[in-house]
Amino acid sequence: MNQTNKNNRRHFLKMTAAGLAGATLLPQTVEAKSKKNNKVIYRTLGRTGVKLPIVSMGAMKDAAMVKAGLTKGVKHFDTAHVYQKGKNEEMLGEALKGQDLSQLFTVTKVVPDDMDRQTGLVGDGCTAENFLKMFDISLERLQVKSVDLLYVHAVSSRQAVLHPEVIKAVKKAKEQGKCKWLGVSTHKNEPEVIRAAIEAGIYDVVLTAYNFKQDHVEELNKAIEEGAAQGIGFVAMKIMAGGFLDKDKTKPVNTRAAFKWAMQNEHVCTCIPSFTTIDQLEESWSLMEKMKLTKDEQKDLEMARDYAGLYCNACNQCDGQCQNDLPIPELMRSYMYTYGYREMGKAKTLLADLGLGNDPCSDCNECTVTCVKNFAVGEKVQSISRLMDVPDDFIV
């Protein structure tokens, strides 16, 4: 036990010294490497000045993939305090043991206490003390004394970003030298979070969900531009939009196209796809040679966007909202058959099975169904129900 502690302490000191040196070394050294290898595209992470390959790695489950990433030239591996109840940080700490951390960009993420996952609001139970305690545990798991960047994890509201206890905690972590830079990560209400990060004035990086399929991508692009103008660096996650267009995973996203789309935004420094195979890593790495979207890739993305707009993932959150108790997810599915796949016969059979009339909404003045994907449910139900008036002979 003592031996382990000694080893850990020695390792801590070694890593901290390397980490401090890295504050100045990383940009120059990495750039020198990029000159040697023109296949790798590096971008600067906002005001941090750190240059990273546009391909980084996120949420690796196995040290083997970290090893593979290091061999390939990946400099940044994402992790978080909560992933695998800390095992992810432990795994990464072990996998990076013995590496020259001054050549890597180390991060972790800590979720503020008492944050409501639905509303994104941080409650009174949040304290800077608890946040810092969790961060200290993360550092221990990673076997380092400091990381380059500390994120406030999974925030989705302005209130959370600007919460006094959260601000107090991250400022203190920086003052104590436990991190060089601060950031927020967000999967929801990203534009609001980015603008709050600008407003806070202390955050250097935003890790944001960013992909071709997001309904609010225009607004998100605007927010990213505003943030970049203020020196905030951006890291993109969820760029593959889940990897599949459908729930049954029969329609894969064109991942090459999705990657190129996300990284076309020059304000996005790097991205953190969760590679699970060496082939995936190799493929994304090789894309840096030719980043321009081909016509076919553009077409794939357009089709995927259209498909996403039609696709109801049957989350059933609208259950019970319809005044006429209509089975909304099934009706949305028949809408997708008709307008997405052009399979009107299949759609009509489904509608007939459901016993749908040709005007099921006639006795409603206003649709009471609220869809989490913002589908205009009432309009779609009325549109699809007209199919019941079309004679079978006219349906191919």
Binding site: A59, K61, D62, A63, A64, M65, K67, A68, T71, K72, A80, V82, Y83, Q84, K85, K87, N88, E90, V111, R117, Q118, H153, A154, H187, K247, S274, F275, T276, T277, I278, D279, L281, N313, A314, C315, N316, Q317, D319, D325, L326, P327, P329, E330, D353, L354, G355, L356, G357
Partner: protein, 276 residues
Amino acid sequence: MQINRLLVLLFFISGSVLAQNYPDKFTAIEGWTIEGEKQFYSQDNLYDYINGASDFYLGYAFQDLWVVDYKNQAGQLLTLELYRHSSALQAFGIYTEERPQTTEVLPIGAQGFLESGAIFFLANDYYVKVYNGRPEVPEVAILAFANKVADSICSGCGLPDLFNRFPAQGRVNLSERYMPENFMGLSGFNGVCTVNYELADETFRLFVYKENDETCRMIMEKYFKRLDYKKKLKEKTYTFDDPYLGKVSLSYKKGMISGILDAKNPEAFISLLEKM
């Protein structure tokens, strides 16, 4: 006609409700009654409950989650979280991801542990968490509650048999893992059991994969292709210098692949593979 349509509609509606009914076996936990609304999460919205951690659960074929509060006569509250996965091995996978490396394991279900006043345990295809509420439930009572939940899932629940194949010599306690997909970064190498070893100043992993022979051959050949190794596959032990993973020893027998990863000198431990 209208009635028929309504019946069909009702059938569909009731069908979707039935699919999300709370399992009966958890409704009658002696001494406890369900308090408040039950929450249900599927693959589609697990993220809403556990955020980014949901990716890990989905990686182990997560099926659904019930989050239910229970109250006893003293007015004390517990929260039960029932994560159901597609198989006992998948549930074992997520359970061991969260089990600390050094903990005292408890005989609850197949196995459990206590952490920060909460109980975590494995029982067949369920990974179960029991959290203390306010006012707090004493540890004895929370353990009794957890045991009742475990008993309602399985009697005599056990850990997956495949781990019995691993030799005892040098085996690191509580290091068993189940890798659901793409082991060694190799697409299709899904469902591999691994255990850590410490022997002769080396730390390394042994792994075993049991599948039909066709799949085993396909995995081996895919790996050969990655290494650009052109020889025909035979039943034997190979040692490669993998450009990404370092030295790797792999043993192929009909319907089984086993191997050694992360060792500087895997050849020194080949005898362990022979015991599997």
